[in-house]
């Protein structure tokens, strides 16, 4: 029966040292269908598609393309067999024209001279086929992200791709661009191209796909016929349990008489006149649009960027941390937005990560007390339930949620009293999100204070005790819990525009 399928992945398994990324995943793709592939972050979707492209070599399993069997793919084999992948980052060269990008690496030539005219004609034809309007002579850097993606798709089709794998194709696009991309997907399906469509957005999956395959923790869960599937059912399959509550309940633990941090007219790092108070046991939410100055404010409090004027008062004493080290010694911690770049030390062990801020504290004459080092790491591994075989595991082999926990463990070890979270659950899957929220609750119930930057409205409202909104590097509003309302927050977040109107 295998001739019914364009692409079959059978019992794919991929092991990395210490971690099994894929346990046993099977995927079958019919000719001319759109298969939605869903799963939480860390479920193994990326690894699976990398097995198709040849970027990852499976430990075991079979890959069958049009009935031809392979143990592994290579980028060349994938191309020869008509498998193309549209990644989230494009492989375009900005300084070349749309046509040249379409023929990147295999230009149309007359002898040794590039035949620009022929390429432009071919490109025009290719774009027309997909009903997209791109001037073949336009430099790619001048095109919108949506069009750049279209060039990638056109390139794949030009190279006779029969299987197109799209990894979160809507993520970088605006609403209009998403609509155009959908049209192209429909068009390709009619032309008989088979598509694997990976997305976090279930509504897209429902709209586009014929069937939906769910994977979880590196294992195949089920494949459903799209019209017969429901959202609840899919979420349950992805998470492996029912999501009754998104935000865990929290005891009332705010100590209104105990101001932990106070900012008075703080300027610096682009921000103007920041004034706020955070109490012990409180989660203060910091809302606003991307670029409003929230991360910049966190950097000033954490000492990684200088303050120009104003006062920062911690527990009644004015402070002026000049480096993260000074801030850490004062009990301030930052869990940064970009976990892999700024947060975790990926090539170091869990043990080293957790102890990193306190090594000087647990050393005598620069010699580390290795018993304390181990005990501390074990303690926080237990306390915040970092899932790992051992504390000697390298952090790069952990899932996003567990990496975030390691970073938090580091700050608990440093005995931080004020913890700033910058987008605490970005890129973390649904199940692990709940655990992070619970940990934030534990922190404040323990008398610590949390400043939480979040661009997810629901999270901001669900987790904060109070919300302060920034817009264009200024504070534009403050809301008490009873006033929380998405529309009001959005209005404050775009306050500058409103001023212009009035």
């Amino acid at each position: 029966m295998s001739e019914d399928y364009v692409l079959e992945l059978e019992h794919i398994r991929k092991e990395y040292p210490g971690v099994v990324a894929l346990k046993d995943v099977t995927l079958k793709l019919h000719r001319g269908e759109v298969l939605g592939l869903i799963g939480e972050n860390g479920a193994g979707k990326s690894t699976l598609i990398k097995c198709c492209s040849g970027a990852v070599v499976p430990t075991s399993g079979k890959i069958r393309v049009n009935g031809k069997e392979f143990d592994r793919m290579t980028p060349q084999l994938a191309a020869e067999n008509g498998i193309a992948i549209i990644y989230q980052e494009f492989n375009n060269v900005g300084e070349l024209s749309a046509a040249e990008n379409l023929f990147l690496g295999r230009p149309i030539r007359k002898g040794i001279v590039i035949d620009r005219k022929a390429m432009e004609e071919e490109a025009a034809k290719a774009f027309e086929q997909l009903q997209i309007k791109i001037n073949p002579r336009e430099l790619v850097k001048n095109l919108s992200v949506g069009y750049q993606q279209m060039i990638e798709i056109a390139k794949a089709i030009q190279q006779n791709a029969q299987v197109l794998i799209m990894d979160e194709p809507s993520a970088p696009l605006t609403t209009n661009e998403v609509e155009n991309m959908f049209k192209v997907v429909e068009l390709l399906r009619k032309k008989g191209v088979s598509i694997i469509y990976i997305s976090h957005r279930l509504e897209e999956i429902f709209r586009l796909s014929d069937r939906i395959e769910v994977i979880r923790d590196g294992e195949y869960v089920d494949t459903l016929i799209t019209p017969k599937a429901t959202v609840d059912e899919l979420i349950k399959m992805m998470v492996g349990r029912e999501m009754t509550q998104k935000y865990p309940p929290r005891k009332d633990c705010i100590d209104k008489n105990n101001v932990v941090l106070e900012l008075k007219n703080v300027c610096g790092n682009g921000n103007k006149n920041m004034s706020l108070q955070i109490h012990a046991g409180e989660v203060l939410g910091l809302g606003g649009l991307v670029g409003a100055g929230r991360t910049e404010l966190a950097e000033v409090i954490f000492g990684s960027k200088p303050k120009e004027s104003g006062q920062i008062i911690l527990k009644g004493k004015e402070i002026d941390p000049k480096s993260p080290r000074e801030a850490i010694n004062l009990g301030i911690a930052l869990v940064p937005e970009d976990r892999k770049r700024h947060g975790a030390l990926l090539t170091n062990s869990i043990k080293n990560n957790i102890n990193m801020p306190i090594y000087e504290r647990i050393s005598t004459a620069s010699v580390i007390d290795s018993a304390t080092e181990k005990k501390t790491a074990e303690k926080y591994k237990e306390e915040i339930q970092i899932k790992c075989p051992s504390i000697n595991q390298l952090v790069k082999n952990l899932s996003g949620g567990n990496q975030q926990k390691v970073i938090l463990g580091k700050w608990l070890a440093a005995d931080s009293q004020l913890i700033i979270f910058d987008e605490p659950t970005r890129g973390i899957d649904v199940g692990a999100k709940y655990e992070i929220y619970k940990l934030i609750n534990d922190l404040v119930e323990d008398g610590r204070s949390v400043l939480m930057i979040s661009s997810e409205m629901e999270e901001l409202i669900g987790m904060s005790d109070r919300i302060i909104v920034l817009a264009e590097h200024e504070m534009t509003g403050e809301l008490q819990k009873e006033e929380f309302n998405a529309d009001t927050i959005m209005a404050y977040a775009s306050a500058i525009d409103k001023k212009e109107v009035s």
């Binding site: 970027a55 850490i328 030390l345 990193m356």
Partner: protein, 316 residues
Amino acid sequence: MKTSSNNLLKSNAIWLVFLAEVIIFAVASGGTFISSNNIVNITRQISYYGIASIGMTFVILIAGIDLSIGSIITLVNVVCAYLMVNMGVNMWLALLLSLCLATLIGVLNGAMVASIGIPALIATFASQTIFEGVAYLISAGRPISGFDPNFGLFGRWSLGPVPICAIIMVLCFAIGSFILNKSFFGRYFYAIGGNEEAAELSGIRVNRIKYLIYALSGLFAGLAGIVLLSRSNSAQSTVGKGLEFDVITCVVLGGVSVNGGVGRMSGVVAGVLIIGSLTNGMILMDVSEYTQMVVKGIVLAIAVGIDCISKKRQAT
């Protein structure tokens, strides 16, 4: 089970290479290579760049490079000799002053790299040229000799059959290994080599550590210079030229990744032994100096190549 035996093989592969090399040279030289005389010879030859390779290990661990150590070795030779011979300074004081100078040059490298932000390759390339010139200016290109006979302690004397300089090298390796494994500085080195930004945000004062590392690289190079001066018993203003090449080769061959964050002291010991025996073996076999250069260059390229390939493998 398969992976653990693989790892065991991989972590000891470098020692197998060394063993193979020894056997080949032993056979090819008809046993001369492993005569006790020649083994003592090799230990003397490797001691100075063994010592210098410790500082270089730290530097490469944080994804830096120090091209100035050859010049530091030359300058220490010239300055220490000048102090003792031309100025009549006591041997120990001259030694101390020379080591201070070497450390200071390291601090200067640290300042250029950490505070100003000059790429390490260029910063240390500049100081290489500067201090090579300074050494010439001091010595006027003439060799300086006629030291206190006790100065032979560091390079020529032996304790029983064991050369003192070999003991110094072993002590230095022990100190280096201690710094890397037992002190918090070692943890900081690995953290910075892995991800400088995240290290800073974890509370490491990255700039201070960089100063420290380049200073240590200078200090160990200075110590290597003293050992070399004692051994040759005469200061030449060309003596250290190109030594950084051998030292970097030892370190990289020893498994310290040029991308930073990965490497062990024991590997570097193996690297030093391999390059030391290779040099000695080639001399025994009457291989010309130029052919030696070709061979060593190839060894460096292969060592870095293996490092890069294993990194690529990890990615798939």
